[in-house]
Symmetry: C2
Subunit: 206 residues, 2 copies
């Protein structure tokens, strides 16, 4: 709250679960397809919960704009598609991922990493950088890019990779070959901490 | 439109399907439980479509109030629960069922009835009246009320009954015994025309 006041925030709405769900919730907002790949496979029901609570929040607040971090790329894609499909009268603003000096995406979860894990965690960003480099060099075969990313990620045996995905940045659909705006995304567990990260490469402007 | 103008309507919003669904619709609003019994069993996906398009319409129009007919009792229950769960800032107003002199609920579908079917269709309202009469007389066993309704409906062999249901008026859950506000609902087919009708009996105020 003090931080908000410092930054000139006029009002904070931070409801508790009972305020948001005063009765058994029977109404769910689901976004097909976009919710299903990537994290959707590892977190069943997660994006249904996100879409539902965001619809409620937007409606309660009467928001003109909502700000989401690019780090949660699938969340951004789900919310953008939901807002378009349901004609929600607000702008979804995507904020760039903030990174530590070694490239690790800033996340509240990073505090759970041991010093050793914290050091090793930067391998995820290095694998994403490798993909960007390959694409800039003209590589378009998704399988080959993913293979080289997995090779880098394999340098940290403690990292249990959940997925390495190169997909269309808007629909999150699989691509055999890189084209248009592509999302390159990685998820994995280091010890008990689940980490995700991604970059978007726009091949139309290169 | 002429009719609307006659009644002082200031604006009409009557979009076509392409305007409402300019792209493949991936986002669906579903209402669990309330959508499932009664017509939900005979029209899979119907209430998902209703809930989704109503969310879109309410959002586009910025409605303060929306008016639905009591004849479509389950639609009313679904929309009311959806509006509450999603915090939609509008009032759902339920309009009483309009009836022909013989009790048949007015519906655009009545025009598809043959003269013989049109005459026979009033049996549905007679069965509802019978239920109300039994409840006023102190009957509380749902099974016995339904049995007597089916007996009356059986007087028209051409009527293929889909359901005779006596349920809680808000949750639409089955009740073994009549209590509180109950919805008594019938659906069936006369020839190729599907007819539904219902009454609400409030046993708390009798």
């Amino acid at each position: 709250m003090a931080l908000c006041a410092q930054h000139g925030v006029g009002a904070v709405f931070a409801p508790g679960p009972r305020e948001m769900y005063p009765r058994e919730n029977l109404t769910w907002v689901t976004v097909e397809k976009v919710s299903e790949p990537l994290c959707g496979r590892f977190r069943p029901g997660h994006f249904r919960g996100v879409a539902t609570v965001c619809t409620k929040l937007f409606t309660i607040v009467g928001a003109d704009a909502a700000f989401f971090g690019q780090k949660d790329a699938q969340q951004v894609a789900v919310i953008q598609r939901m807002a378009a499909d349901l004609n929600l009268p607000l702008e979804i603003v995507v904020c760039p991922t903030v990174r530590e000096p070694d490239g690790l995406a800033v996340s509240s979860r990073n505090q759970y990493l041991s010093p050793q894990e914290r050091k090793e965690a930067s391998v995820i960003y290095r694998s994403l950088q490798k993909a960007a480099e390959l694409i800039r060099g003209g590589e378009t075969a998704v399988a080959r890019i993913a293979e080289q990313m997995r090779e880098i990620l394999g340098q940290v045996p403690a990292l249990q990779v959940e997925y390495v995905s190169i997909v269309d940045a808007a629909s999150l659909e699989d691509l055999p070959r890189v084209r248009g705006k592509v999302l390159i995304a990685v998820a994995g567990r280091l010890g008990s901490t689940r980490l995700i990260d991604n970059i978007v490469v726009d091949t139309t402007t290169k």
